[in-house]
Amino acid sequence: MSNISASEIAPLSVFELSRFLAAGEISAVEITKALINRIEEKNETYRAFLTTSFELALKLAARSDARRVKSALLSPIDGIPVALKDAYDTKGITSTVGSGILRNRVPTEDSAVWEKLNQAGAILLGKLECTEFCLGGPSLDAAFPKSLNPHDKERYTGGSSSGAGVALATGMVPAAMGSDTGGSIRIPASFCGVSGIKPTYGLVSLRGLFPLSGSLDHAGPMARTSRDCALLLDEIKGFDPAHPTSSKRQIAPISPSLSGDCRELVIGHVTNFTELEGVSEESQAACLRALEVFEDLGAKIKKVQLPSLWDYTIANTVIMTAEAYAIHAERFAANLNRVSDLTRHRIALGAFLTAENYIKAQKARRALSQKTYALMRSHSLDLLCYPGMMGDPPEIDKVGRYYYLDWPLITSPANLTGAPAASVRVGYSVANMPMSIQLTGKLFEDGKVLSAAHAYEMATPEFSKIME
């Protein structure tokens, strides 16, 4: 019998839940039942879940408890409930990628990510709302109801891993999986006030993740803390010979070596992402305050300048749009009127891009990646730090069709360079919306990124909460 009430379970992190499980103070079934109640209570308002798998979840939870009795746990996250962005294939469970065209799509194989989480003993609560075909959003006219930002329902959740951000912020789940091609983990993490990491490109297999742009897609975890992201990433990373973008390079487990120690850390404060490129003064000020916290923790801060955000943005946009169109061309030719307005416009643009545009963008990708990493080497930087987003989440009906052509995408550098990049919440704006910084690292140094993020979060616990 649990010493912890159901209402106390919702705010708990993966780390805390695993401790209570290990101490025998709660069972996986009790946690799962409490979160099922939470989802039933909150989802009608916030619409984070498209599909729930409660029967399966309770079965998996019971098996986890049985393993616990025999001291035969599969991993540190054995018994932890998770939910997946609906772009991840789950065998026998509808996976719509947020589109009415695929509303009856039931995969026959699991995605690599769910395969690994399942093997680690995670409990699948269901599939999360995402913007149609993972392309930005908000698609208010899409087939499925849009999830709502619990901080302000009139403002955008961010996308495309929108349901993940909302489910975490409202305590419906402690852990979720998102994907990120131009910011789709980091934007909802930032706008919903939770944590997320886009790992190094190729670190997590994309097998069974519905593609948006194979050159830029990244699979990654979202949670309420960076430590939780590390726990999840440890279970999902690893070479997958069945996917061509999967990296053979392995990295050591991250979560055992997380520390609050920043004394050896050198952080490059990117000073040229300013209001000239659309970044609000408030976001810049929040970034400065965060860097002061890192200095107090012993990190060394150096001022640096990267190429213009526009350079990263246009290269990212051309590659993503061209590749997305190539994936959807046949589907769209037959079904264009069934696709939401924003998705239709954004992907159709790809039909007009030329081979020269695409090749130039790919060459620019290499050049910009080389410049970025050369700068980090020359300044002996471990991390780069800059504002997480340009400013407050926009009002939900004011997100432009091609907003990324009006203002640059501050998330684009890390997609283009493949660098690990975490969204770390750093407080609230004057409009009482969550604010964040981005910490990006060198390739395969995801551990350093999460370690720094964890150190910051430990030093600023006041920013950790779920929305009641």
Binding site: T317, A348, A351, N357, K360, K363
Partner: protein, 73 residues
């Protein structure tokens, strides 16, 4: 549509309509106008990349023979 802007890019109105037709997408005239504006903006921004890469820069898509073996893939 701004004929002059299209002309600056070496595209006639007929060229644009042809591109739209070739796409096979059933887009309305209004959507063509909107996508066209985005297209112009993309071409304007893509010009920035000329400062970063020379046209003769190494191939964009790298095919490394060593990634493949004589084993069947």
């Amino acid at each position: 549509m701004q004929k002059s802007k299209l002309n600056q890019m070496g595209l006639s109105l007929d060229d644009w309509e042809r591109l739209a037709e070739q796409s096979g997408l059933d887009i309305t005239q209004l959507e063509k106008e909107e996508i066209y504006q985005a297209y112009l903006r993309v071409q304007e921004l893509v010009k920035r990349l000329d400062q970063i890469v020379k046209s003769e820069a190494e191939p964009a898509a790298i095919f490394l023979a060593e990634n493949f073996s004589n084993e069947q893939h």
